[in-house]
Structures are given as C-alpha cells and as structure tokens.
C-alpha cells in the first residue's frame, strides 16, 4: 500500500497516526522535499568555533555544509561542494584552516568562501575570460542566522526571519541558553546512528513525560535520579509555544534560590540567572515552581535538563544536553549529542555537570539506552505490512469529542499553552507542524551558473 497523503494527513489531524509514517520511503521522500527543504535547521553552536579558522562540517539530510569562523571572526555556513567538479571541499569533521583546498584539482577557497586560486588559471582557462574566478565563492547557505550562539540554516532562500520563527519558544530556549551573559559552551558532539525513525526522538523530547516512569524505571531503582517516578512526573507541566514544546518538573516549595539549589546550581550561578532572567522567567521557577526538562524545537533539535545524583554521597548536579535527530533514511537516524554548560560556571560545576550528562545521556547514558531500545523496535514494527492497517492513538488528553480533559493552566508564567499532568498535546503540536510542511509545495529555488560570463 502506498502513502495516501490526503487520508493520512486527515487522520493525523484528529490525533490518529498511521503507524507506517515511522518507517516509510514515500513519507521520507516528502519530508526531504517539503520539510527539510524549508525548515530552519540547527547546524552548530558558535562555541564550537571559538577562533578564526575553526570549522565543523554538518549536514541537512544529504547536503553537507561547512560552518566556519572566518579570519574577521564572522561565522559563515557554506555548501561543502567545490564549484568545479563538485567534490566535498572539507572532509574532516572539524579543524582549523585559513583556506580550504579541494582534494580533487586543488581549487582553493578562503575560509570566508571566496575562491582564492585554481591551478593553471591562465594556461587552462585563458584567465578571467574563460573562468571568471573573481567574485566566485562557495555557495552560502540559502538562509542563515544565529540565536544565542545557535547557528541555524534553511535551504529556503525566502525563509521567515529566524527570530520570527522561534517566536514564543525563545522564552524557553533562554532558560537553557542564558544562565549568564557568557551563554552556553558546547562540548562534543558524540555522534552515533540508531535504526530508528527521526520523528520518534523529536516527539519524545517534545512532551512524552508518560514514558519516563516505566522506560526509565531502572534509573530511579539504582538511585541515579529522584524525579522520574510516575507521581512526580505527573505533577510537571507540559507546554507548547511557537515551534517548540517541552516538559517540566514540579519543584519542592521554596524561593527562587532554594528551588535552583534543589536542582543543584551553586549560589553564584543562581545570582546570575536571577539577574538575567525576565520577571516571567523567574516567576515560572519561583511562583509556579516549574523547571524545564526535555524540549524539542521543530523539526529536529531537542534539549534536556536533568539533575541526577552523581555520587553515593547524594551530590546533585544538573546538566544540559542539546541533541539533533539527523535523518539518514526512513529507518535510520544519526544522533548528535552535545554536552552544554554555562560558560561562566565554576570549573568544579562544569566537571560535575559533565559527569551527570555522561551518566544519563550520550552514547553511554542510561536514559539514552532505555529510549533507543523502544525507538528501534517501533521503527521495525512500523516497517511491516500490518502497520498500514491501523492508526496509533495519539489522543491522550482529549475526550471523544476532541475537547481537552484538563483546561490550560493559568498559574504558568511562560508563553504558549501549558497543562499539568500527562497528555499528548505537545506531540500533536509537533505533528501539526510536520503536517503543515508535508501539505505545502516545496519552496521555489533557482539554478546558478558558476564562473561563466553570460
């Protein structure tokens, strides 16, 4: 049976999800054509490129991009294809270089993308007349912008401005990314592949607080983490705002500083957060008592903030991980997992926080291993013929008439819509954005001639 977009999309709109969308070639083709051709996609954080000449190579699906800081200090994102024969210009995953020299014919580009030289320009091309190298450069990403050091690109030259796209989710992004004026410092990424569809991780981080008590039960059993127990998770709020959605935990009573101390932040960091955060951001923690945990920014960037016990003495250390679900195919995903920490944090905090991250997430983390086992299995099941015969029920939180069983919270200081308890509002929010893309024709693009005088 082939993908029937009209029926499938109508099903998803009412919270019934054709099971095969998690492993289907045609769906993946549409995602490539209509979603990743247009959406703002994270490629790197500026802290991965602290010095001029630093670069990393990142992908948006099959398209490779060089993210580099040029000699003037400007961060640029360039399509990683030599203008001459199409060879990949940067093949190392990261490095430092003032110039990039193509391995095929040695065409050489400055790290701002401008073509600096090619062998035998006069002998082979007759100089500028045959190939006008002046003004030629590696193709810049069609759209590029940064927010709090997060570098995003869109393959759509007419993408909406990034701040407009981020909208109300910026409020929550800042709770992870703006603990001091220094901003986040990224380490990693660890990178590995899982035989799972990319949407599953994105949806999970957007709002699946319901899986935590069961999937991650062992994490509680061994005393690594106090929070995931079902009754505790149920007290958390789920919110969606703009293109993002996330989960929170309810904190024990106390003022702003006491609540952040419970999470494991030292006094000097709490002071900086208190000074930098908006009144609403402080109120979300102090008055409403919620602390952000997992979140997803559509389409495939997720965040997690947890505070496990990192030793037998019961030391609690919070960590932040940023992760990307990079699709490889309909049934394989490359996971990029970064450890992120406030650049101004004390060294001892950074060390403890890194340990906390490694215990929970990353290729050796317990949460990670618990999750992926499920996601691989879902993908396998979704690839069979039976998966075409029924729709998964993703209507948690709705009555049969489609009404929410709980009203939105009023005591929640963040923007968007928040509800306490379990629900699949966030996953449906994510899927509705996914649908919007799949229902819309791909963006218009144009073809360029290189180095030709026309």
């Amino acid at each position: 049976m082939t993908f029937d977009p009209v029926t499938a999309l109508a099903d998803v709109r009412r919270g019934m999800i054709p099971a095969y969308i998690y492993n289907d070639e045609e769906v993946f083709r549409l995602e490539r054509e209509r979603l990743f051709s247009r959406a703002w996609v994270f490629v790197a954080h500026e802290s991965e490129l602290p010095e001029p000449g630093d670069y990393v190579v990142r992908r948006v699906l099959d398209d490779s991009f060089i993210v580099a800081r040029d000699e003037q200090g400007t961060v640029r994102v360039m399509f990683n294809m030599c203008l001459h024969r199409g060879m990949q210009v940067c093949r190392a995953e990261l490095g430092n270089a003032s110039h990039f020299r193509c391995p095929y014919h040695a065409w050489t580009y400055r790290n701002d993308g401008r073509l600096a030289g090619l062998p035998f320009h006069v002998d082979a091309y007759g100089g500028e007349d045959g190939f006008a190298k002046r003004g030629e450069r590696l193709l810049p990403a069609p759209s590029m912008d940064t927010y709090r050091g997060f570098v995003f690109i869109s393959l759509d030259p007419n993408a909406p401005p990034l701040p407009e796209y981020l909208g109300d989710f910026a409020f929550y992004l800042d709770l992870y990314a703006r603990q001091s004026p220094a901003g986040l410092e990224f380490r990693g990424p660890q990178r590995w592949r899982v035989k799972a569809n990319w949407k599953i991780g994105a949806e999970n981080f957007a709002g699946d607080s319901y899986h935590t008590p069961h999937t991650h039960a062992s994490v509680v059993d061994i005393g690594l983490f106090r929070e995931p127990k079902a009754n505790k998770r149920k007290e958390g709020a789920l919110y969606f705002a703009g293109p993002g959605a996330g989960t929170t935990y309810k904190l024990p009573p106390g003022d702003f500083a006491e609540k952040l101390r419970y999470v494991g932040y030292p006094g000097e960091m709490i002071e900086r957060m208190g000074a930098l955060w908006s009144p609403q951001q402080r109120m979300l923690v102090e008055d409403d008592g919620f602390m952000v945990s997992a979140a997803t920014l559509f389409p495939n960037l997720s965040f997690v903030h947890n505070w496990p016990q990192i030793d037998e003495a019961g030391t609690v250390a919070p960590f932040i991980s940023v992760r990307q679900w990079q699709p490889v195919s309909q049934n394989e995903t490359e996971v990029l997992s970064w450890f992120a920490v406030d650049g101004a944090a004390p060294e001892s905090f950074k060390r403890d926080s890194y340990k906390a991250y490694l215990m929970c997430f990353g290729s050796s983390g317990m949460f990670e291993q618990d999750d992926v086992e499920n996601w691989v299995s879902i993908t396998e099941m979704a690839g069979g013929s039976m998966a075409h015969r029924f729709n998964l029920n993703s209507r948690m939180g709705l009555t049969s008439a489609g009404e929410p069983i709980t009203p939105p919270m009023t005591a929640f200081s963040g923007p968007g819509t928040a509800r306490q308890g379990f629900g699949e509002f966030n996953q449906r929010h994510w899927l509705s954005m996914w649908l919007d893309h799949l229902e819309t024709a791909p963006p218009a693009t144009e073809r360029l001639d290189l180095g030709a005088r026309t």
Binding site: G95, A116, D123
Partner: protein, 64 residues
C-alpha cells in the same frame, strides 16, 4: 614540531646557524622547505591573510 590540518602538513624547526637562527618550514609532501630569518618572520606579522590567498592563487605552488 609538526602542524597539520586536512589540507597540509608542515614540519617547523628552529635552525641554529653559527651566528644566529632561522625558522625552518618544511613540507614533506612537496619536498620543499624555506628558512626564514627573524626579519622575514616579523614581516609576516604585518600581512593580512589575503597575502596568503595570493600565494595560494596557484595551489600547487609555482607553475613555471
């Protein structure tokens, strides 16, 4: 000392002469090397990276 990135590898050494010193930069892959005196090295400090782009206009080195 060896300096390398994905495009090039060079060996950098201090060479002591009877009465002074030079910095030797050698590229094992091309077999070329240059011995730079302190004045030449100082002159490098007032170059812009554009100057090196000009040198790399012929990416294999001299074409004659």
């Amino acid at each position: 000392m060896i300096l390398a990135n994905e495009y090039a590898e060079v060996e950098v050494d201090l060479v002591r002469t009877r009465n002074g010193m030079r910095l030797r930069i050698a590229a094992p892959r091309t077999g070329r090397e240059i011995l730079l005196c302190p004045l030449e090295l100082e002159a490098l400090t007032w170059q812009e990276h554009e100057a090196f782009s000009a040198l790399l206009a012929t990416p294999h080195g001299p074409e004659h």
